[in-house]
Symmetry: C2
Subunit: 247 residues, 2 copies
């Protein structure tokens, strides 16, 4: 009796933990949590469902990959009105590149949730991106198109997709801001501190001050990203000033 | 005065015709008809919008291609629970092959609506599929995801996507039905007639009678497709009988 209670409790606690973890990653409540569990099952487990069908994240990855491509396509269509089909295709490839998706999956620490028979250290880099796509596939099945769009906007487009940077026109907003401050002989200061807040994922907050006044604030999952985000905001806020001094 | 009235009338009549034509193709009312107009502008026209951006169907085709892939992926995910990622990818490629999309676009007579500077006879086959994808892109922008799913279900999946046929397990339901009738010494008869009804697109209806009783009816845009559809219906209705005679 004691034994079965223990199993029951530990099982439901693990389930509860997974639910909370997913809620943090997704930014909304999962409806059918079992779909998300599948997104973390590695094929090495050799799991099967009741009908004998393979149970791992690869089919969800197939689905998520397609949905991610669609949402990014729509974003590019709207944001780059002068880009032709070939150009849009090239930009999309950059955004959904293996390297970029691995970064996104790593930032969300998805690997922590992966269940596998082989040690996680044996995985290549691509596991991060593959599981990231599988999570999108799970959202699609669980909550439909609009939640996918919301998730991709929040986790991919808003923090990381910058058309000008992708086009190579701007390498780094931080360097642009520093360059301007130095030319204008303005003092500036990046104040970085950890600010994880309610988010389970580690976050950093940055305050960028120019002439001792806060020019912009930002928050992201790494110091570098938070600084770049704050710099971008400051850059656009200052753009009129910068352009005036350049002309 | 008379002249300008004439221009106005002819313009609005053409617009009205286009709207009705699109309503028939789509199966629902367009909201912003201008988006659909773009889906039929060939690059040879060299049209530009007010901001000087190129105005032709190629960007919409980029968008529609992605959305079509997503909807088909979801369909396959649900319909083929035992297929792994590689298998699903292969099946999707078959469904969205150039050849298949050209067939779909040709059936809907989309070429009739294409505006171009070069004669339509000079186009290759791919214009049909490209414009078909552009129409899906236009639906996505005008009415969103769910209308795309509805359209693709009605125009692609329901009439043409047969997993067993794609897998090569069944070449033709018509031949299966005929074979069974001949073995069983049952008389059968395909009765085909044009039945365009309210649909502007030419349609054919088929009644398949076995032993002078109607076994199945179907309707499609070609005689061959209608016969195949009726045969498939009859096949599934008769399946128990057929399996009983085979074992």
């Amino acid at each position: 009796m004691k034994f079965s209670t223990k199993i029951f409790n530990s099982h439901s606690k693990a389930d509860g933990d997974f639910f909370l973890e997913m809620k943090k990653i997704l930014g909304f409540k999962p409806k059918n949590i079992n779909i998300y569990k599948k997104a973390f099952l590695h094929r090495s487990l050799n799991k099967k469902d009741l009908n004998g069908n393979p149970l791992n994240y690869e089919r969800l990855e197939f689905l998520g990959d397609a949905m991610l491509g669609t949402i990014i396509s729509k974003h590019l269509y709207n944001e780059v009105p002068d880009g032709d089909e070939g150009y849009l295709t090239k930009m999309r490839s950059k955004i959904v590149s293996r390297k970029h998706l691995n970064e996104l999956g790593r930032d969300l620490k998805l690997l922590n949730l992966v269940e596998s028979r082989i040690p996680k250290s044996h995985f290549g880099e691509n596991i991060h991106g593959n599981v990231f796509e599988a999570v999108i596939g799970a959202i699609y099945l669980d909550r439909g198109y609009h939640y996918c769009e919301k998730f991709i906007n929040q986790r991919v487009i808003e923090p990381y997709v910058d058309i000008e940077q992708l086009e190579g026109k701007v390498i780094s907003y931080k360097s642009l801001v520093i360059e301007w401050c130095q030319k204008q002989k303005k003092n500036f200061h990046y104040d970085v501190y950890e600010d994880t807040g309610n988010d389970e994922l580690k976050h950093f907050a940055v305050k960028l001050s120019i002439e001792d006044r806060i020019a912009a604030k930002a928050r992201a999952t790494s110091k570098k990203k938070a600084e770049e985000k704050a710099s971008k905001r400051a850059y656009f806020a200052l753009q009129n000033k910068i352009e005036a001094t350049q002309s």
